[in-house]
Amino acid sequence: MGITRRQFLKWSGVSAMGAVVFNGCTTPEQELQVESPVNMPEDLVNGIDNWYATICRQEPEACGIIVRVVEGRAKKIEGNPDYPINRGKHSVRSEAGVQALYHPDRLSGPIYRDSRNDEFREISLEEAHNLVLNKLNVLNSEGQNDRALLITQPLRGHLAAIASEFSSGFGGRHMAFEALDKVALRKSLGRVFGQSRLPKFDIEHSTYLISFGADFLSSWVSPTNHSRAYGEFRQGHAQRGVHVQVDPRFSMSAANADEWLPVKPGSEGILAMSMIYVIIKDGLGDVAAADNLTGGQGHQALEIFSNNSAGVIEATGIDGARIEKIAHDFANSHHPLAIGGGSAGASANGSFNLDAIYSLNVLVNNLNKEGGVIFNPSPPISVLDNDSVSGAGMPSSYQDWKNISQPRVVMIRGANPIHGLPSSAGFSNILDNSEFIISYSSFMDETAEKADLIIPESNYLEDWGDDVPEPGPGYQVIGIQQPVVGRFHQGTVNFGDELIYYSRFLGLALDANLGLTEGSGFKELVEGSIRELWSKNSGSVRSSDFDAFRQGVLQRGGWWDVESGAKIEEMSSNLLDTSWPDVSFVGTGEYNLIPFLSNSLGDGNLAHLPWLQAAPDPLTSVVWNTWVEINSKKAEELDIIQGDILTVESPAGSLEAPAYIHPGVPPWVISMPIGQGHVSFGRYAENVGVNTISLLSEVEDKGSGSLAWAANKVSISKTGRHIDISKFEGNVPAFEVDEQRIIKIAPPESHDHKEHH
């Protein structure tokens, strides 16, 4: 027929149909080419992958990770098998770090605008530095140094030291932002255990674990470490551990528990007190501890918490016999462990609840014992000691944010308080009234959007750092973060280096206090800590040669010393507060609102990553949305079906979100995930779902000033609208199987297919 290829292409190009059918058959141009790079470092060989150890900064847990790097690009993140916190495993959240690195909406360099109504324009780093230093100099010359405010996420390692040196040297204020702050938890742990660091909860060796409101498998404190331990707790030992979850919501941890006690919100502490009462009354706990807790008065001092009293039963919704059984099982178990947090610490009486819960550990005397509460020693490098439980390293509480004095210059790094604080904190006004706001965010999030100047930070996979994991594994650990790939955007900076640069310019004593020499920066500080570890000649890496030691530490992702346990520090009086707590709520609605941190999106700081948006919620399997969990019976009563858009109203505001009909949530509770509802945070987060935090009213835990985010009452109403809720459940069609005649029953041994022939 003599049709040439060129003619043929022309011919098929004529019809529009051809274009559709054959789209995808051609080879993209770049695949026909191969690039000779200019340089090639020794460890960067075409087609060969390398795994580098570093630290994950996607979540506060900061797991040790190894990153697969092929030709200078990070491909895959996996857990570092050596790292004591996560021992080779990782969470859904750390996995997506590579998407943060290569996110299409990452800011590539400094941007600035003359007034907040203007558009941002690109400027050079030098111009950006001049702007920052000018503003700080103005404060300096006017003697208003205290009106400089540095906001970060809770920092650890050398970055924490630099931030505190910088702010105290300048005379400004440093605040650490934690969405749904855990100040109540930290303070309570400090009070009950007399420690200045978060302890490790030895779930792995525990035989009876009771968790009050702490969703420790999903989002609470150190979830990867907990999950790692939980697998062993279940099937790793001769005796399978028993897990009881006391939770006002059917959380992921409750779903995994052997027994779930759906207590009334806020009454977790009452239940714990009642357990203490039973244990002391029946003489099961440690006698000395019981005396210490009750001031020698015994169970009589706790009579109002008697498991059979009408007060306890009414407040908790759990009957006396059940409390007694749990108390007995707990106290009689070999390695009992009680943990509490989350919603238990987020009611008006949160501190009371947590004190009572953690006192259970004191009562059964599991402190510093296998399967109990293991204390953490101070880090081997004194400058990295960051007392987050009772001292300087403590994040700011809701109360602190509410009572903030108006700053003139605000510097914000790694925190998004506009999204994470309820509007009642008034933080938006504070920012609007500040003269100059500098953000170091890699993304244009809600807080960065208010900034005048954004100097985007490099990704953690591109930079140096160190970390003292919190909580530690019961011994000293220093994690080392090293750059595994070159900077993807050349205009990005290291935050530590920025503060060092400002300090030098302003003549602060940061260099001298941290032992930095001229011309050195954050990387040298990290190197300095490696050198200090080397001089100790102990722990996981030892070498007489510093370079070999350094190499060893970088290869393993850090240094640790399993011999370096902590002692129980002198405990002051552990007297229990035996007065009946005031469990109060804000709002007049019918339902308790129990928000919860999303399993994949955290507090919303990971909402910009498409893998995490598409990771189904473990219980509801909902993706790319915020949903309202409502009890299935209740929904039937109210004639609400899956996907009906509901208005949830609290005194602080109202939101609209689709209903998820949930058979597990108690009929008196409405629960909603936190993390969505970003108005600005890259293409994958924007306008997805609603921000549940905006429903939270002005109510705090009396004992600590923490936001009492579980103390809201809400009402719901139907809007009459309906959507097809996006979820994975039902993705695979389910169908009823008709009853069939059984042809043959195969015994399990028939796994070997040979037998079938």
Partner: protein, 222 residues
């Protein structure tokens, strides 16, 4: 009557639809015939490269020829021979990983810093310019496998250099560089490198069969 009309139209419609489907199918197959599996080659394609790199001078050991076919002579009138560099001198990764790899510009400069760096050779000048500008050299591919084929150089070189295994030519390969010619031909003596084997699946499978290598689909396709 109406019924008959409906039937008639249904039949006609069916035929038209069937015809359209057949036509599209024919188009699809025809298109595939002409355009796959290689946009380049399979035989004879020697696209223009950004730098005319002569494999003959570097990797060949024969007499170098001028464009008119006469031997290239040095100042004393002696015939010039190729350097006879080992393939792995530049394609260093070939016995380590999946891809053979092209050398980085830096590696070319190791030698060309000294050799011919001051002479008026346009191609070397291009190379030095790339080095000075820190710009990568983008070569046109000559051998290319489709995305759904995984070919690992290392395993093939390992097999042929193992004692007891002979190459299709019947020879025993001693070093990695002996193996390259099995698929790539005598590149050292090609003025312009071109593909010499079809490298289509049949070609791969034949060789695998001859050498007792696995022919399971997932050997190469995953």
């Amino acid at each position: 009557m109406l019924k008959k009309l409906i039937i008639l139209f249904t039949v006609l419609g069916g035929l038209a639809a069937g015809g359209l489907v057949t036509l599209l199918l024919v188009l699809f197959v025809a298109r595939a015939w002409w355009s796959t599996p290689f946009e380049v080659g399979p035989f004879g394609g020697s696209p223009e490269q950004p730098i005319e790199y002569p494999h003959t001078i570097h990797a060949g050991s024969g007499v170098l020829l001028l464009s008119d076919g006469s031997p290239k002579l040095d100042g004393d009138g002696n015939e010039l021979h190729g350097l006879g560099l080992d393939c792995t001198f530049c394609h260093r990764n070939v016995d380590k990983g999946e891809s053979a790899g092209v050398p980085p510009v830096e590696q070319c400069i190791y030698c060309h810093k000294v050799i011919n760096s001051d002479e008026d050779l346009p191609e070397v000048a291009l190379l030095i310019k790339a080095w000075e500008n820190k710009s990568p050299v983008v070569w046109e591919r000559i051998h290319r496998l489709p995305d759904h084929v995984r070919f690992v150089h290392e395993a093939h070189i390992r097999y042929f250099t193992e004692p007891g295994n002979t190459m299709p030519s019947g020879e025993q390969a001693i070093v990695a560089a002996n193996v390259c010619a099995v698929c790539h031909g005598d590149v050292g003596n090609m003025e312009e490198v071109k593909q010499v084997r079809s490298l289509k699946m049949g070609d791969c499978v034949d060789c695998h069969r001859d050498n007792g290598a696995p022919t399971d689909c997932t050997t190469c396709h995953y």
